[in-house]
């Protein structure tokens, strides 16, 4: 009988610690499939960030360096410069990348470091219990915006894929979502496309993935998943914002 579906080589055969309905597992799988497709598992160095994604090394069967909060792009810069033949990606959440790590992501991108950044945007700090993130939508209630995000006081949510697309060193910047089979298949293509840029040494590539956090949103997984399409995509449009084919 022909096998049509299997666990990617780059993922370990273990259960994750993620909450019910969390989509980190889906994103992990898409990244692992892309590593498998390029045949780079054995030369990949992943850089884990601080947040729910810190346990990257527990799920990916690759070498991993753990970065301080927000510093993954700087750590990845040091890794890639020291081992230019390796395949390097960071996996970061929205608090990590778009708040405390803003300087690191902007400048690694602007230098055109030959790395790939997977940015999981779920509009909240998941690990610490659902506080307001730089991506929290206006009006969204969180544990530190109990009256809803106030644009006048808290500012508007940051659209990182568009911000980074403005920088000269960025070869590829896109936003995808994982709320439907169609979107997951698109996300898979985009993540592979991003890795292709690194495989060809074409510079910095960035994929923002809209995903849900049912636990901290206070929703069941189906309702949380529906929120991505109803509320997030209208503000964070899907698409490719920079694509520097050579």
């Amino acid at each position: 009988m022909q096998q049509v579906f299997a666990r990617p080589e780059s993922l370990k055969d273990v259960q994750t610690h993620f909450c019910p309905g969390c989509q980190h597992g889906t994103v992990h799988r898409l990244v692992a499939e892309a590593l498998d497709q390029f045949g780079v598992q054995q030369k990949t160095i992943g850089v884990a960030s601080v947040g729910c994604s810190v346990f990257l090394y527990g799920y990916f069967d690759i070498d991993v360096v753990e970065a301080p909060h927000g510093r993954a792009p700087a750590v990845a810069t040091g890794v890639k410069r020291a081992r230019p033949d390796s395949f390097v990606f960071t996996y970061q959440g929205d608090g990590d990348l778009a708040a405390i790590g803003t300087a690191e992501i902007i400048h690694a991108a602007n230098r055109g470091e030959d790395i790939t950044v997977i940015f999981v945007n779920n509009t909240t700090y998941g690990m610490t219990g659902g506080q307001m993130a730089p991506t929290t939508l206006v009006g969204q209630k969180t544990s530190t915006s109990p009256y809803g995000r106030n644009k006048a006081k808290d500012g508007a949510p940051i659209r990182m894929a568009e911000v980074l697309a403005q920088l000269g060193g960025v070869a590829y910047s896109a936003r995808v979502a994982v709320d439907s089979p169609k979107h997951v298949l698109e996300a898979k293509k985009v993540i592979k496309r991003a890795f292709q840029f690194q495989a060809e040494g074409k510079g910095f590539s960035f994929v923002e993935v809209l995903s849900s956090c049912p636990t901290n949103w206070g929703m069941n997984p189906l309702a949380a998943n529906k929120r991505i399409g109803d509320e997030m995509i209208p503000y964070f449009p899907l698409g490719v914002f920079k694509n520097e084919e050579q």
């Binding site: 054995q42 990949t44 160095i45 090394y57 040091g78 020291a82 081992r83 690191e104």
Partner: protein, 352 residues
């Protein structure tokens, strides 16, 4: 006779790093250490190395963390306020047991303070500096030659003990020019870096991390880090003694002010005063055994620092209550560097 060069202390540190095999440097401009990134931005590309002027001190130390995790010799440098910013990364490197060299050409503080020669970062350097309870090795050169030699030594200590190592100087040591004999790299046998990430390459997964959540893991990790510190204390202490054999008063001083103290001690000897100088070269591990012996011989110590009294606490801990320890300090600032005559006056005052 080997060649002699006439260079600044900062340049000597950069040259020592290159001789030690360091090909990766990440830094940020700050006075009075900018000669180091300037020198390495010129020289590393010629050696197929990598120089990055980082967007911040925080980014620079994290680039060092990443490069070091790959097993290469790498370095950053800065000065006091910049070193404060690097403490996050230094703590993570200590926790993940990553080697790496940090040169601190310290300035005066607190806050923005000034750029004058200062020893106000002794506590920050030797007591951990960042969060989490750890020690890193700290070396205190007092000459251009030592800037070169001790920077090479710092790389060896870092690799031997898998720890960040700091070379602590100030504007006197970093900015002055002296003759330098560019000695070849020491031939120390060092452990293989089997822990470094390289892509699995068909082998076992390698993980560089400082997160330990398993029951009892972190406690065991802390004791393991402490054991490395104790081992360094046993075998890596360095100090220099001048005229201590028959001294009745022992002066203790390190780094730049030890040079002035050395002159003052020589002047006191000319007056017939039996005075000696004990200069710690490793501030961490602190050379407490050698100091205890010299201190007990003399019976009295005068500690001199460019601050309001920091190393003096370690001096007191080392010698115990049987040795009388006095302190003379000149906190940093324009015009605060003591003259040899000023220190000689203090020696006379504390002598017998």
């Amino acid at each position: 006779m080997s060649k002699r060069l006439f260079v600044k202390g900062n340049e000597a540190a950069a040259m020592g790093a290159i001789e030690a095999g360091c090909r990766y440097y990440f830094g940020y401009p700050i006075t009075p250490q900018s000669d180091i990134p300037e020198y390495l931005s010129r020289e590393l590309p010629k050696l197929n190395g990598e120089f990055i002027q980082a967007e911040s001190e925080v980014a620079a130390i994290n680039m060092l963390l990443g490069a070091s995790a790959c097993g290469v010799r790498a370095m950053t440098s800065s000065s006091s306020p910049g070193i404060s910013l690097k403490q996050e990364g230094i703590s993570y490197m200590a926790g993940a047991e990553l080697p790496g060299v940090i040169i601190n050409i310290s300035r005066s503080g607190p806050g923005l303070g000034g750029i004058d020669a200062s020893q106000s970062d002794y506590f920050q350097s030797v007591k951990g500096g960042g969060h989490g309870g750890y020690r890193i090795a700290v070396l205190a050169p007092n000459s251009v030659q030592e800037m070169y030699d001790l920077t090479m030594h710092a790389f060896d200590l870092a690799d031997q003990y898998r720890t960040p190592v700091m070379v602590l100087g100030d504007s006197v040591i970093g900015q002055m020019k002296e003759a330098l004999v560019p000695n070849p790299r020491p031939n120390r046998e060092l452990p293989a870096k089997g822990w470094a990430v390289r892509g699995k390459s068909g082998g076992e997964q390698r993980i560089v991390k400082s997160l330990f959540l398993g029951d009892g893991e972190l406690e065991a990790h802390n004791w393991r880090l402490h054991a490395k510190y104790k081992q360094m204390m046993d075998v890596e202490c360095l100090s220099e003694e001048f005229e201590t054999a028959d001294a009745k008063l022992l002066v203790t001083a390190y780094g730049s002010v030890a040079r002035i103290a050395h002159t003052a001690v020589a002047m006191a000897r000319e007056e017939g005063l039996k005075v000696g100088l004990f200069r710690p070269i490793t501030l961490c591990p602190f050379p407490e055994k050698a100091l205890k012996a010299a201190g007990e011989r003399a019976g009295r110590i005068l500690d001199i620092e460019l601050n309001t009294g920091q190393m003096v606490e370690d001096v007191r801990l080392a010698v115990g209550s049987n040795v009388e320890v006095s302190f003379y300090g000149r906190p940093p600032g324009a015009g605060s560097l003591p003259s040899p005559e000023e220190l000689l006056d203090q020696i006379r005052k504390h002598y017998a």
